[in-house]
Symmetry: C2
């Protein structure tokens, strides 16, 4: 058992920006996970590991983008409502067929959206700009220029052109385009394997009735879900006692099969002590961050052993979740080989604060808020509660950040609320 | 084969707001899908079908929220740095144990964060506000009041209190809290089954080399991915010909096992014609929307047959995706039994427009844009291309909306860009 004495003098915590920079620098020397080939249908939200270029033109042949008539554009020059051009309907393009023949001069072919352009025709007159005279004849009431309402071969995608860079997170529309050029399978980064370990003599599985003195594990389930939401694969190593040998063995086992190891504990003292001692012995570079000036989430430990990242998350579920968002999420993205985006990934709203909020200077605060709507206006109501209270995070819709340089916000001030993801 | 003539006079399209209202009204009379019981670990992003109340207090016993010393608060009253209170260390709370004994007056127990409060003690003095005199004695340099640094039994969650309402989308933190009160399994809405049908004589599977005149199916893959992203379960019915009998049979087969049926076609003429005729015969209420004044996405059909929603999406992949976002996504949410949120679900950025954009009045335009960052400023660059071009959606980071009442935006004007989801 470690004593509280061990902890004295360990209140030093570095600023958030510094911790993030240290982590970023360290990650730069760590390779991302290997690639694997997956079926196109299974590639949603995976990251490309290679640039993808098109092996063909899309469309492969010029197509109409409108319902109407394929014409020689020159036959329509000068056409107006009062002086229309008369064109004979000499044929029709059937969907799914490559027309062998096309309209001769002063005739036209009926064509639907998506129909392949018949030989000779160089433009499409929209249905709306024609009047049907009889079965065989139309009036064209507006001129079209060459190429009007036609998508040329290769206009969407040119053969050999880069379509998606490596490091791209695959969205539904990306899959659609890849289907269009005949991609059946593609190389993506493997799912990042993230070990989830709960520690603490007082922690028991959520599936049992806790004996006196014990409480159920909340972090294990919460963190595994956060990993899944970030596109990683959580690997549970269960709940282990605050025992250095067990802890050390579990960490080493986890390191063998996972890219990232997360451990959190019911007791910040025990976990930090053990964490520090065990991580110190795992090899270079060892612990790179130990305590960050954020609230909640201060007692976080970040270490690297070879190519494995290890994170000691606070035991408080709320603190653990904040630490996850700040440090673990970007690490998972790095191992996934994702190119960092310059765009926000979470929805935000601007809201008026419902009460004063104080913060100590030199510390970044994350304050959970409920967001209510009054007419077109949003109001942010801080959800207060003891720091161990997970219920505050459940009541909250998101959080506001009080930057290190600020001492708080006043009631009525406009603040930016970062909303928890609701996954569409 | 249907002729272009069939389409004449069908250019009528209702405003977007009206179409959304008609859909909303119709959905109100449709029940959501059945519930099922799932393991807590498998419930992420599912929707609760019942209110969840706590069956116990959390924490079950008062706990310390700090590392420090459990004391009688009255022993510390008046303590200062120059005149500290002296307390004897008479014991220690071990993690995971329920202390049977506690500090008597003018003594204290060592306690770590999360430790169960020993009998008699009513507050915790933080380590930082003490000075260790020797093995047996501490100085307390600040007074604490009763309850300080202690979370009382039931302070996080009170037995019987409502935790989550029915219709709640389950987030990682919700799972954590439910684990804390011992929930092993819970009732959620079944996954909404969404039939995905591609139609068109010219459409072939993306896994084959298209014969002349044919192109590969893009909508099937794209739409299935959109359904998955929305939490639904896509059920593919493959590619069917523009043939009324086949189409009708496929729709009816899909209706038997799915909650929502989506069909899209390579040719808007063929699909709209067939769609209308087949849907007309499926029973009440039939087609409720046929054409919406949006660009792209105008030729959408929305119909209901009994409790099944049917959507005829435009054949253009870009149009189909816009229609999906506007109409299918809220329908899936309805069938999922989700309580509509008053908060945005997609991230946005405010950006300056890089060029003029014109729009016809009376129509809502969705313009895809690439967002670039210059310093702290975002610039939105419209991604232009023929309307059939899926590559424009792949190049885009999101889109801007030009409301019906507007005729466009000027270069340099500030616009709100809705970013495509990047799923964290």
């Amino acid at each position: 058992m470690h004593t509280i004495k061990d902890m004295l003098g360990r209140s030093g915590a570095i600023p958030l920006a510094q911790a993030l920079e240290v982590l970023k620098q360290q990650l730069q020397s760590i390779p991302c996970v290997d690639e694997e080939k997956v079926l196109l249908e299974s590639s949603l939200h995976r990251t490309t590991s290679r640039e993808i270029r098109s092996t063909e033109d899309l469309p492969p042949h010029p197509r109409s983008t409108m319902d109407g008539y394929a014409v020689h554009a020159s036959d329509t020059f000068g056409a107006t409502e009062s002086l229309p051009a008369y064109l004979e309907i000499s044929g029709e393009v059937l969907m799914g067929a490559t027309p062998k023949q096309g309209p001769s001069s002063e005739t036209c072919y009926k064509i639907a959206t998506g129909g392949f352009m018949p030989p000779g025709a160089d433009a499409v007159v929209m249905l709306e700009h024609t009047v049907r005279v009889d079965d065989k004849m139309i009036e064209v009431t507006r001129p079209v220029s060459i190429g009007s309402n036609v998508i040329a071969a290769g206009d969407d995608v040119r053969k050999g052109a880069p379509l998606l860079p490596a490091g791209h997170l695959l969205r539904p529309q990306d899959l659609g385009l890849l289907a269009g050029i005949g991609v059946e399978g593609l190389f993506v980064r493997k799912q990042v394997r993230v070990a989830v370990i709960s520690t603490g003599d007082e922690i028991v599985s959520h599936t049992i009735q806790p004996p006196p003195g014990k409480i159920r594990d909340m972090n294990g389930i919460n963190i595994a879900a956060l990993v899944r939401e970030t596109g990683g694969r959580p690997v549970s190593y269960g709940i282990i006692k605050d025992d250095e040998k067990t802890f050390s063995e579990t960490i080493q086992k986890a390191m063998k099969s996972c890219d990232i190891v997360l451990f959190s504990g019911g007791s910040s003292v025990g976990v930090r002590d053990m964490g520090e001692q065990v991580l110190d012995r795992l090899g270079k570079p060892g612990i790179i961050v130990h305590g960050v000036a954020v609230k909640p989430g201060k007692p976080v430990i970040i270490a690297f052993s070879g190519e494995t990242a290890l994170f000691g998350l606070p035991g408080h579920p709320v603190s653990a979740a904040v630490s996850f968002d700040l440090f673990v999420r970007p690490a998972i993205h790095h191992y996934q080989g994702r190119t960092p985006s310059h765009l926000p990934s979470l929805p935000t709203v601007t809201a008026r604060l419902a009460r004063n909020l104080n913060s100590a200077a030199g510390r970044t605060d994350f304050v959970r808020v409920q967001v209510k709507k009054d007419g077109a206006r949003f109001t942010a109501h801080p959800v207060l509660g003891k720091s161990g209270a997970l219920s505050t995070m459940v009541k909250a819709d998101g959080y506001i950040i009080i930057e290190e340089s600020l001492q708080g916000f006043h009631e009525g001030e406009e603040v930016t609320v970062r909303l928890y993801s609701t996954a569409n």
